[in-house]
Amino acid sequence: MIGKTLSLQSLSKRFERTVAVEGVSFDIAAGEFVSVLGPSGSGKTTLLTMIAGFEAPSSGRISIGGQDITGAAPNRRNIGMVFQKYALFPHMTVHQNVAFPLRMRRVDRLAIRDRVRMILELVQLVGFDHRYPNQLSGGQQQRVAVARALVCEPPVLLMDEPLGALDKNLREAMQLEIKRIQSKLGATVIYVTHDQDEAMTLSDRVAIMSGGTLVQLGAPADIYQRPCSPFVAQFVGKMNFINGECQRDEAGTCHIRISDRITIPAPSPSLSGAGHLQRGRAVKLAVRPESLSFAPPDSATAIPGHIDAEIFVGAFRVYLVRLATIGQPIVQVQLPASTSAGPFRRGERVDLFAFKEAFHVFAAPEA
């Protein structure tokens, strides 16, 4: 295993007027694959450039394998990096590109030949040694970039949206390829992307960034099932939001009133975030489209609404339903295509149901 631990301690980067990254801390285990996911401008690329050493952090510390590298020059960090557009040197052949980091480390000629051959075997590009980057397809260029970044067995590999330039099918093939190479070498990888499916597919853990801060860090399933904020909830997967208000009964248990007549018992506070909501506080009730259904499970409250549209998406159907609750939000209901429900007429009245565990409660922003 070539990977080592990476630790970021309250890392910040401020430019003259803007804050690009603010107080980001996390630890990554050796050999772990962590995706940094966020919309553009969330500071994820700045974070990467600080780890690579192209930008000095305004404050905070970075260490690899327990060793502080905050002030080290980029060429003294031994970090592998795959750039968004690969940044293969156009005046060098595949062999020269991959051998470049070895030559910079004064590895002797024979050893270079062996190691380049080994890494090109790993990325399945044997026989392409003497081609120039412009004679390769996008996928092949991508493999060369990965090979070049890995040939010195870096303790940490950084990847900045490496599949952004590829078409969809190739992307999916390359995702598996990257995962295969990473687990074979036991590389510690930080993978920056704005594609949530990619992050989910590849990662051991996903770090969600927004506005320069780390919003949530956890396993993909964890983040999907227990988002810590409305932002994360709708950024990862699809999420319906229903407006409501917190009410507490004599025992102090929270119920969410979503219309004059309907209240929904709040799910267990520790899971849903309903723990410290005050009485009368406006909340958002969040539920995933696939958690809603037209058939009542036991002891679930019916939420009335009207069918607005029905969309066929291959493996499943999506129904848009306008709820008869506060603000009349439109929610999506996602059912398997083989479902027995429907067909519905437009405007038809329906009742929606969900297990109470499927709901998340977020405090609505104060007006």
Binding site: F54, F89, P90, H91, R148
Partner: protein, 298 residues
């Protein structure tokens, strides 16, 4: 020269399916037609006439060329011309590359200031710049006065009307022609390449030597060829700041054509200059020939 100018943009022309392929052949020809016509009438025809003039007076006769080869003075003028052109090119490169590098790496506003400085030098007339050197370098000029007042020298130095002064003044005039193509080449190198080299273990110097310098070769090529060729045919500056010992081909041609009215001889000298120029372009091109991958800087 047309060949030289097209070189730095090779990478954009070489890409298949580029913007040019959208035009039909007829349209392409009509677009370049006027220039082609101008070159034909204003450039190729006079050169052909020149060559004819040097060879037929009126029957085929090599007297003019024999004169150049047989009289050592003319060969030494040739040699001096090439020596000065080469010195000017080397001096321009040594002085110009760092300037281009600084311009390319500066922040936007500072880069604009630096570019403006280079352009202003380019826009001021050659005559003015040459006279400025006379003011600076002459016997009672600024440099001699300052040195004398500082007590560094007793008597004025002979700074002007020699080969050094010619090289200095010509370098000053031709520097922008070196800086601008190199700057353009450096500007087109994505910052990512240098970042990649650094992260792969190259120090700042290594990254420059292995990445930036080789990728700026087309600009260096264009700059050197332009400087060298312009220097070969330079007339005003050497005539003003040079002395009797610094006679170069262009001045010689001028004398022969306008003072001595020996047109066949002037034509022969010109023909040799044209051939020498073309040869130099080919030699430079060979010397700077790059790997195939180069055409693909993206």
């Amino acid at each position: 020269m047309a060949d030289v100018a097209s070189r730095p943009s090779d990478h954009s022309l070489g890409r298949p399916g580029g913007p040019a392929s959208r035009y039909s052949r007829a349209l392409s020809f009509s677009l370049i037609g006027p220039l082609l016509l101008l070159l034909l009438v204003g450039f190729l025809y006079p050169i052909a006439a020149l060559i004819k003039l040097s060879l037929f007076t009126p029957a085929l006769d090599f007297t003019a060329y024999r004169k150049i080869i047989e009289q050592p003075i003319y060969l030494s003028v040739m040699a001096r011309t090439f020596r000065i052109a080469l010195s000017v090119t080397i001096a321009s490169f040594v002085l110009g590359y760092p300037v281009a590098l600084a311009m390319a790496s500066l922040k936007r506003r500072l880069a604009a200031v630096a570019t403006a400085a280079v352009f202003i030098a380019l826009w001021s007339p050659v005559l003015v710049r040459s006279y400025a050197w006379i003011v600076l370098l002459q016997r009672n000029g600024v440099v001699n006065n300052v040195l004398q007042q500082l007590g560094l020298i007793e008597a004025p130095l002979k700074l002007i009307y020699n080969e050094g002064a010619v090289i200095l003044a010509m370098t000053h005039v031709l520097l922008p022609f070196m800086i601008l193509p190199i700057f353009a080449a450096l500007r087109s190198i994505p910052q990512e390449y240098v970042c990649a080299a650094r992260s792969l273990g190259a120090g700042a110097t290594m990254a420059f030597l292995r990445i930036t310098l080789p990728l700026s070769l087309p600009g260096i090529f264009a700059g050197c060829v332009m400087c060298f060729i312009l220097a070969l045919g330079f007339y005003i500056t050497p005539a003003l700041v040079g002395g009797p010992g610094t006679l170069i081909v262009a001045t010689l041609i001028g004398q022969q054509a306008t003072v001595l009215l020996d047109w066949p001889f002037a034509a022969a000298l010109s023909t040799i200059l044209v051939i020498a120029t073309l040869t130099m372009v080919l030699v430079f091109r060979k010397a700077f020939s790059m790997s195939k991958g180069f055409a693909s800087v993206d």
